[in-house]
Each structure stands twice: as structure tokens, then as C-alpha cells.
């Protein structure tokens, strides 16, 4: 056998053995992409507000079946404020969706800054908010709203993700400050409440895609002031192919390094004789 062929064959053996490192971890670890889009709203709590302004209208997602019927008030160490609560979105709550609706709690006067208030609806302690100096930001202005249907993996291994709606807009103000103080964007379809979004990132993943000609976005500031936008859902541009954008890091480090050690020893054996 000529020497070149011999060297080539040895290289092939090493390369083939090394290929086991690539084969083993890569397929098993390809499945983490979808964690990016888990919802960021917890039912029942005010947890996503960090600091509310003095004129905040509080809101939270609740199961409509358990919506409070009695009067509520916000109680702090030295102040008690009665709130009017309204659950108009529960009229269209879908029981299959857990019957979730958006409930608002409007204080009858301004809250005092520098205090922590607890929402008391007659059954003792409830969620808490912290009030800071200042009034609410104006609702965000969305410009150049673009909607597009994006493809997802459709993989039975990844939980069969469907295509989703991506909404992107230019926002002229500090969006994260807006959401942190209690601002939100409500989605309405045919006048019925669909969902609430509290980040720009979540606006880029609306799923399932509403089956309606239009989607209404209501940008609601912390004090309840609203900007409304309509998005046409007919004939949206679609992705031609699925292009993954999330990065997946193969793991299985420990097994690979042992294998590489074995390959290194094998290489020394094959080449060491000269």
C-alpha cells in the first residue's frame, strides 16, 4: 500500500472516530429553541410592576370564575384608598383558555409616594405594589408597525410549534420604563379581549395567529390613557422557509472530552511508530 494512501486511511480513522463527538451531542441538544417565548405574565399578581406612579390604575390577569365581587381597597401603613374594580374583559373570556380576563383596579384618589400598598379585597392580604414619586408616562407611540407571519420549527420533538405573528414597530420613548411602571399593550380581536403583552419581545411572538381580518393593539399607560392601532391581518408577508435564529449550544461536554482523549491516544499509536 503506498504511503500516501496509508496516511489517508489513518486520517480517515481519526476523523471517523472524531465524528462520534459531533453525532452524539448535536441531535440530542437541538431542542431548546422555544423557551424564548414563554409568556411573561403571572396570573393574579402585580409582580411585573416594580414602581407604580402616584396616579396608577392597577391591573392584573385573573381567572374570571374567581373574580372578586366585593369592594377592594389599597392599604398601606398610614393610608387606605378605596378602588373601583372592573372586569369588563371577562364578558368575552374563553373558558378553554382558563377563562382569563384583565381586571383593573382604579384608586379613587392619588396614591401617596414612598409607600407599599397591599390590595385587600376582603380576604386579607393580596398582591403588593410600591408607589414612587411622579405621574405615569404617556402611552407609547408605535410608528411604522409591520406585521409578518414567521415560520417555526413544526417539529414533533420541539412540541409542534406553529407559525406565529411577528409585530414590530418603532417606539420613540423608553419602552422598558413604560412596561416597568405598569404600562401594557392589550390585543383585541373583533372588539374582544385576546391577550396582554408587557414587552416588545412578546409583541414579536403572537400565537396563535388570530383568525380575523384585523388585530387591534391598545397601548395602555399606567394611568389608563390609551393609544389604539389597527393591524390588517389579510395578506400578510410570509417567510418562504424556516430559518432558525436562536443559538443552541450542544452539551455533552464530559463525554466528548473523554472521547477526544481516547482519540488522542489512538493518534499517537497510529503515528507514533515512525
Amino acid at each position: 500500500m503506498d504511503p500516501i494512501a496509508r496516511v489517508t486511511i489513518k486520517t480517515m480513522i481519526i476523523l471517523f472516530a472524531t465524528s462520534l463527538c459531533a453525532v452524539a451531542p448535536a441531535p440530542l441538544n437541538a431542542l431548546t429553541c422555544a423557551d424564548d417565548v414563554s409568556p411573561d405574565l403571572e396570573e393574579g399578581s402585580f409582580a411585573y410592576y416594580r414602581e407604580s406612579p402616584e396616579n396608577a390604575v392597577l391591573w392584573r390577569l385573573e381567572s374570571c370564575a374567581n373574580t372578586v365581587l366585593f369592594g377592594c381597597s389599597l392599604v398601606s401603613d398610614d393610608d387606605t384608598v378605596t378602588v373601583d374594580h372592573s372586569a369588563s374583559t371577562c364578558a368575552s373570556a374563553d373558558p378553554r383558555d382558563g377563562g382569563r380576563g384583565l381586571v383593573t383596579y382604579r384608586p379613587q384618589r392619588l396614591l401617596l409616594p414612598g409607600r407599599q400598598y397591599t390590595l385587600d379585597c376582603g380576604s386579607g392580604g393580596g398582591p403588593r405594589i410600591e408607589v414612587v414619586d411622579g405621574l405615569a408616562m404617556a402611552p407609547l407611540t408605535l410608528e411604522g408597525i409591520e406585521a409578518r407571519i414567521r415560520r417555526d420549527d413544526h417539529s414533533p420533538l420541539c412540541g409542534e410549534y406553529d407559525d406565529y405573528l411577528e409585530i414590530a414597530a418603532e417606539i420613540d420613548a423608553d419602552a422598558s420604563a413604560f412596561f416597568t411602571e405598569g404600562g401594557r399593550i392589550d390585543l383585541y380581536v373583533r372588539g374582544e379581549y385576546l391577550d396582554t403583552v408587557t414587552s416588545e419581545r412578546r409583541l414579536r411572538y403572537v400565537w396563535p395567529i388570530p383568525e380575523a381580518p384585523e388585530l387591534e393593539l391598545r397601548v395602555v399607560a399606567s394611568d389608563g390613557k390609551t393609544n389604539a392601532y389597527l393591524i390588517d391581518l389579510v395578506d400578510l408577508p410570509r417567510d418562504r422557509a424556516y430559518i432558525p435564529s436562536c443559538a443552541v449550544a450542544p452539551t455533552g461536554e464530559a463525554r466528548s472530552s473523554l472521547l477526544l482523549l481516547a482519540i488522542g491516544l489512538l493518534a499517537r499509536r497510529l503515528w507514533g511508530r515512525r
Binding site: 500500500m1 494512501a5 476523523l15
Partner: protein
């Protein structure tokens, strides 16, 4: 793929392969084997590793400059973009050419379909272009290396455009 490497090694180790290709009085078709390993990148953040075995028969009696055969590729990784594509097998009919001036040129062209796990998903065409290397040009077993390009259309997932992949490979050719 272990079987393919073993098969190549057995043929290479046999007495017939160790010398120059002999003159043959009966110019029938000869077995041509290709075994390539490489990396492939597609429209995806991560590449794939690919192993290919080509089994074919020569079209010309002596030099086996051209051959046609079946090639099986096993690709593992994320170049095919879908999670189920992390293990893709490709079944192609491939034409191979090794010749040219000083017998250094190596080229293949093939087409067929790809399966992601057990689902047939894409139709593809694929070509390789590269060089052979061996101690002497008339050896039966030569090394090959070069670049590969592939265009695949994933009809199972109803994509409306074919997607390209590019790669590099290194391998052996028995001709």
C-alpha cells in the same frame, strides 16, 4: 459508516489494490467506492457533520474516470435547520469523475432526496469539486478533498424556496 470505512480498508488492504491498476483483458465495469467526510453549513447558526459513502460502477473500462452510483450521506447537526433534521440521511444517484490533466481533478454531481429521521422531506441536487492526492497518479486508491454545494427544497414542510448548503470534505476514492 463504520461498515463503509471497514469496507474501504478491506479493499485497500487487498493485494490487488496495493499495486498499480493492471491492464485488464476483460474491460467490464469496475467497482468505484467513494467515502467522504466533511462539514456542511446551511442557513442556520450551527453546521453539520456529514459522512458519505458512494457505491458505483465505472463507465469506462480502464481508468474508471467516470462512474455512476448510489450515494448515502448521513448528516448530523443543525445545518438542515429543523430539529428533526438533526439526523438526516440523503439518498442520491451520483456521477463521479476523477481525471483531467495529471488525473488530479475530482468532481461529482448527484441528485435525490433527503430524509429527516424517518420522514422524506426534501429533493436535492449536490455537487462536489476538488482534487485527488496520491503518491502516484495511477493508484487505485486516491485521497480526495474539496468543496461541496447543495441545493435542497424542503417540500414536506411546504417551504416555498430551495435552500443552499456549502461544505468542505476530505475522503478516499477507490477507482
Amino acid at each position: 459508516m463504520a461498515i463503509s470505512t471497514l469496507a474501504t480498508l478491506l479493499v485497500v488492504a487487498s493485494p490487488a489494490a496495493q499495486t498499480d491498476a493492471p491492464e485488464r483483458s476483460d474491460p467490464g465495469p469496475r467497482l468505484v467506492l467513494g467515502n467522504y467526510y466533511g462539514a456542511v453549513a446551511g442557513v442556520s447558526p450551527w453546521p453539520s457533520f456529514e459522512q458519505t459513502l458512494m457505491i458505483g460502477a465505472s463507465l469506462a473500462p480502464r481508468r474508471a474516470a467516470a462512474a455512476v452510483g448510489y450515494s448515502l450521506s448521513i448528516t448530523s447537526g443543525l445545518a438542515d435547520r429543523y430539529a428533526i433534521g438533526s439526523l438526516t440521511t440523503r439518498h442520491h444517484v451520483t456521477a463521479t469523475f476523477a481525471g483531467g490533466r495529471r488525473e488530479r481533478l475530482f468532481a461529482t454531481l448527484g441528485g435525490g432526496f433527503a430524509m429527516m429521521l424517518i420522514l422524506p422531506t426534501s429533493v436535492e441536487i449536490e455537487g462536489r469539486l476538488g482534487l485527488t492526492f496520491a503518491e502516484r497518479a495511477d493508484r487505485r486508491v486516491v485521497g480526495v478533498f474539496g468543496g461541496m454545494a447543495r441545493l435542497g427544497w424542503n417540500v414536506y414542510h411546504r417551504e416555498s424556496a430551495p435552500m443552499p448548503q456549502l461544505g468542505l470534505f476530505l475522503g478516499l476514492l477507490l477507482r
